[in-house]
Amino acid sequence: MKIYTAENDGFLKLSFTGELDHHGAKTAMKTIDGLIDDALPRNLIMDLSELNFMDSSGIALILRVSRRMSDIGGKAWVENPLGQPLRVLNASGIDRVVKVFEKAR
């Protein structure tokens, strides 16, 4: 799993690629914590368009990132989930807690 980032005017966009499982989530969370500390964004976008696979470890990661953002007074949401990651998001009911946009805003 790799995460690409783009930063612009208070927005931090994290683009996830490959497979996000428990193994990948362990290091991803540390990386993301560092990125949030450095950028202190007001809005954080998790773009899943290039993510091929995700399990409940990905759900936990999205929830943690979202909590982390609200701790610093910001917002986080998910964009562009497709295929299997979208079905996992739907099965988890995470959209009651974190906004999920099937198309980019």
Binding site: S56, A60, R87
Partner: protein
């Protein structure tokens, strides 16, 4: 048992093996000619069951995970993931959505996702002895069997 084909393997509970377990089972399931979606569902369920072993059955220690996948009557795919870890004190509670003993690294959605991606999920667990999770999924044949 002439209509049954299977694979069996075991591996240490290292998280790096999660992707191997998913890929191995998916590769075996491919002979049922599943749709990409059915294959992804099977991979998801394997990932959840194996992660449970790594995180919960063997917390902070390395143990062995046994995995068996079977094709029953050419249309039912069955996966069993077994460990000899700490066991689950209350299986009913563990299967509830959002329930976890894993802190904020875990979502508590593992069993919920297994249940929603497979047709049946059976959990047997004995505290101090281990846990066995058996899941089945019917794969509808799109082409006639070769």
């Amino acid at each position: 048992m002439t209509n049954t084909d299977y694979i069996k393997f075991e591996f240490p509970s290292r998280s790096v093996n999660e992707s191997f377990a998913r890929a191995a089972v998916a590769s075996f399931a491919a002979r049922l000619d599943p749709t990409l979606e059915e294959l992804a569902d099977i991979k998801t369920a394997v990932s959840e069951a194996v992660t449970n072993c790594i995180v919960h059955a063997y917390p902070g220690v390395l143990g062995t995970i046994w995995l068996r996948a079977r094709i029953i009557d050419e249309s039912t795919f069955e996966i069993t993931v077994r460990d000899t870890g700490v066991g689950i004190p209350d299986v009913k509670k563990a299967r509830e959505p959002m329930y976890t003993t894993g802190g904020d690294d875990r979502s508590g959605m593992g069993f919920t996702i297994m249940e929603s991606f497979m047709d049946k999920v059976k959990v047997r667990s004995v505290e101090g002895k281990g846990t066995s999770v058996t899941m089945t999924r019917r794969i509808v044949r799109r082409t006639s069997a070769v």
